[in-house]
Symmetry: C3
Subunit: 421 residues, 3 copies
């Protein structure tokens, strides 16, 4: 939901004008990254109307486990109830509006407001409110529910009254890819929050290209094939590009033979719940996104015995990406804090029976992406500063390496065109 104050001003005119004149193949105009009015539009229409990845199931493994997630001004309470069902509510008491749970995570029997002890069960029903009159109706003062779905352990929420229905389609298509990694049999080994001083779209655009990788990510490029994310062909590299395509085809054939779907699916631009997936080979030992490219956890996920399964990547509009390997998963969620501040939350999971210090070390598990995230933070912050300058004007994308950035912008612009009155 959008802030009650901000929604009183109508930025519609400005937004429609900016959307109308968007130039395809070019970066967005500056107000998209700077304007408070557009931030409100983003929170209302993008984050308020779409499926947003926020957490993984291992964060709430047991009945009564809860987490809270901040989505702009909204605090969302996600809890596993006694029937092991996942539920999500606005984390706001129906009495005088107090936030119910202030912690990032915890365990509860009922949900009790700290102010006057109004008490809700895990289904969100108000079951006790002292000192209220006899005709007070408990049933009409339950917690406000939020749509929630799990896609093979990935928890998505939607704040809209009507959630986009094509989530089911994505779930049907993606389950065969993700389910084999058995996220429900995992535990969270590490979670790191990074605040970036930039608009959330710069964080996302950065994620959607590897044009910047060679010059900035020495740790990540150990395991990444240079040709996996777009390249301008020329006389010098044509042979290497072909060699990469052969490696890709051979691996896909091998993995699909093991029951691991690997072919690309791309609905990024054409669906409301846009996504893309592909299983990509890992360079050198072929196993994992680590400094050595070998598995970070000796206890493999699920019933895997082969460590060289490459990395299954899954990207969703508007705010997440994921890598599933034979030994661990790493999930990223992007949560806007303000027009110019964004949270990137990274979560690493390993098999729940893996023992820290024996099967894996957190340092080895997290070092590549911690380094990469920090490098990306610097880049997007420098972009934010430059874009805030009056001298910035949208520049051209590379047709070879920035196609997915363009798809992100197209999806974003088209969604707003459809939703902004």
């Amino acid at each position: 939901m959008t802030s009650p104050c901000q929604s009183l001003s109508a930025p519609g005119e400005l937004v429609r004008e900016l959307l109308a004149r968007r130039r395809p193949g070019y970066s967005l105009e500056a107000p998209f990254y700077l304007s408070e009015a557009l931030y409100q539009v983003d929170m209302e229409h993008i984050f308020g109307q779409h499926w947003i990845f926020v957490a993984v199931e291992p964060q709430i493994a047991d009945a009564g486990d809860y987490i809270t997630v901040d989505l702009g001004v909204d605090s969302i309470l996600i809890v596993r109830d006694d029937e092991m069902q996942i539920r999500a509510f606005h984390n706001v008491c129906r009495h005088r509006g107090t936030r119910l749970c202030a912690s990032r995570q915890g365990m509860v029997g009922n949900i009790v407001c700290p102010y006057h002890q109004w008490t809700y069960d895990l289904a969100g029903q108000l079951i006790h409110a002292k000192h209220m009159s006899d005709d007070f109706d408990l049933r009409s003062h339950g917690l406000k529910p939020v749509h929630v779905r799990s896609l093979s352990g990935l928890i998505f929420i939607c704040l809209a009254e009507q959630a986009p229905q094509d989530f089911e389609q994505m779930a049907a298509e993606m389950t065969p890819y993700i389910a084999p990694h058995q996220l429900s049999q995992c535990k969270v080994a590490a979670q790191v929050d990074l605040v970036e001083n930039c608009n959330w779209k710069l964080t996302m655009e950065n994620n959607r290209e590897c044009y910047h990788c060679v010059g900035n990510h020495p740790e990540l490029t150990i395991s990444l094939y240079e040709y996996g994310f777009g390249y301008k062909p020329d006389a010098l590299n044509i042979g290497r590009l072909q060699r990469f395509e052969e490696i890709l085809a051979a691996n896909h054939k091998r993995w699909e033979g093991m029951g691991l779907p690997s072919a690309e699916i791309d609905t990024l631009e054409r669906r409301v719940t846009g996504f893309r997936t592909q299983r990509l080979p890992i360079d050198r030992s072929g196993q994992s996104q680590t400094m050595s490219t070998e598995v970070a956890s000796r206890k493999l996920l699920a019933d895997f015995v082969e460590p060289a399964l490459g990395g299954l990547s899954f990207w969703t509009q508007p705010n997440s990406w994921h890598h599933f390997m034979s030994d661990h998963t790493v999930n990223f969620t992007v949560l806007p804090i303000s027009a110019t501040k964004t949270l990137v939350r990274s979560t690493w999971c390993v098999h729940k029976d893996a023992i820290e210090g024996v099967d894996y070390s957190v340092e080895n598990l997290t070092s590549v992406w911690n380094a990469t995230n920090e490098q990306d933070r610097r880049l997007v912050e420098e972009s934010q500063i430059g874009i805030a300058s009056g001298a910035y004007q949208p520049g051209p994308y590379s047709p070879f390496t920035e196609g997915l950035v363009e798809k992100f912008c197209n999806w974003y612009v088209n969604r707003l065109r459809a939703l902004v009155r």
Copy 2:
């Protein structure tokens, strides 16, 4: 006064609409706690047009003593002049606008601007300004005065051109209650400033009910009777409620026999300068709001010999509350800093002849209210966070325990209805 910039925008439409649709018996809508425009309205019409409690006389005991108080963007200088009269001025030089006194308190002969040494006497007259032309008129460049009144040692100011006249009525009614405690014979033993990240109205509403006390204030409820602040009667507690009423009646009779008026007066909702008072018994030893309920200062106030005088409470609209006991007084003033930040200043006074370390310790004197304030800070901050969410909607007040919260809201809404053009 309101900020010169902010007053250029006209929030009247929004405010009138919000005032018109206020639902009695329910908490206020979110913009009242969040909106910058409504904060400006509050500062202009509530804090700018009413009597505001800001200090106690012992803070400026001697001629030349001054304090400064920040009321939104305004800094007010309150000084005791050579005839021992209390005067208040805008703390702003008439030359180029420099703040005259930057300290919270001090002592001066004249008021000298630090910038170019323009010099004003304690009556606010400009008496010296170097380098000005011969026809420069000193008399038309005196400090801008602010209305100031002392009610038995409680200093109230009013920034309006015409201050509400019913202050006299309040003074006439309250003087018999407060005067016996002889605040002028006191000294300040401690003063603590607490900044709460919430709108000032949440701080006030919290003060106007004890529904939250049992669940949150283990220290305060040692000395408070559970039934003194509203309770829903039922079969189980009806006997205890009657017992409390008997204790109250017996104490009132005893105290009034000692010349200490004790009966409730409540003008909270119906007067411009709304207030409420009542002398309430203290639980256990009956003496003081301390952890032991015994007096914090062995040297009693005034000529008191009986320590068990209960607590005379005095609540004023829009921003203060006070407790006067046999041994000490504690006064609270609420001063908005921004739409979402509020200062709570607590001041403890004891007899001026009481000796620290012998008759009292600051730790023992202040521990109950320091703990309580900190607990309240957490509660109102959690309310601010929840109300900022798009999911918040006004909830119902308990008719048994939140009647004074409703009176605060009614007073506030009615005052704005009367004042906002």
Copy 3:
């Protein structure tokens, strides 16, 4: 350039009204110092349309040396190219807007964007951009140039499309004054940034009078003649004022005989590129603005042999002042950060052959102005606080000591009257 977001709102009405009712001889109304809209007007029309002093040539002595300067939201890159020419560009990549150089200063061969390594030569031409299509036109994606001029080593930039042409006139008139000090033969001995919590105009107004010096600047007034910056004549001081005029005349005659122009030029109010200059005697030993009034550097500037050359002062609209002495120069640039925050950058230069610890110490060189700046910071911050109060109203300037403040305000108001549509 103004911020792309802010320029979408039109503050023209308010500004024109405020400009129309400006009362001569009085300080400006509060919104000029507080309003975000007026800050945007200042950045667009004052800092965006005039010549702004930002640096001295010794900061970029060699080919490839660069500095970056922040002017509001704009970052400007100033570089000395291989032909030793000074060039200025917007520090923004033409690809996706990333800031090119994040450091305050450095040395480069080419200018390489950290994000995707787009590479520009020192003339601003894009010479390399990987992965772009074959028809991508490098020549139309060069850095956006900014006007830059050096006046005997003082670097001015202008962000406007058409820079004011009277810079040439100022250069012609000032070169004979400044050139003898040979700034190009100097090195930067110290540079100090001070952030003042006030509007930039308060910083400038403070600089344009010494009415406040006696009461606030014990260090600076050691070397300043009390009568050099305006005084109200009276029976007691008339003799001393005449004596000062005689000293001034005698010194001017002596200095002009040495080829050092000394007479006052004042175009502060009447020119777009307004300035004022005067060579003023220094009190006591007559040599330098130090605590002892003796030279801070034993190695004199240029080919000077006489240390008692007084101080050549140079003040420019809207944002700088400078003092050139026999042994060192000190330059001040005022750079707004926000409506209520301002950077004052002070730069001290000595002869490039002077050896630290032998010929000069940084402590002795900088102590007078570091102390003075800190005192001024306190004064302008107290003014900002007072002006933010609703009680502030413009006050009268002293006709004897605040004439140059009035000229600053008149220039400012007249420039806005000419430029704001």
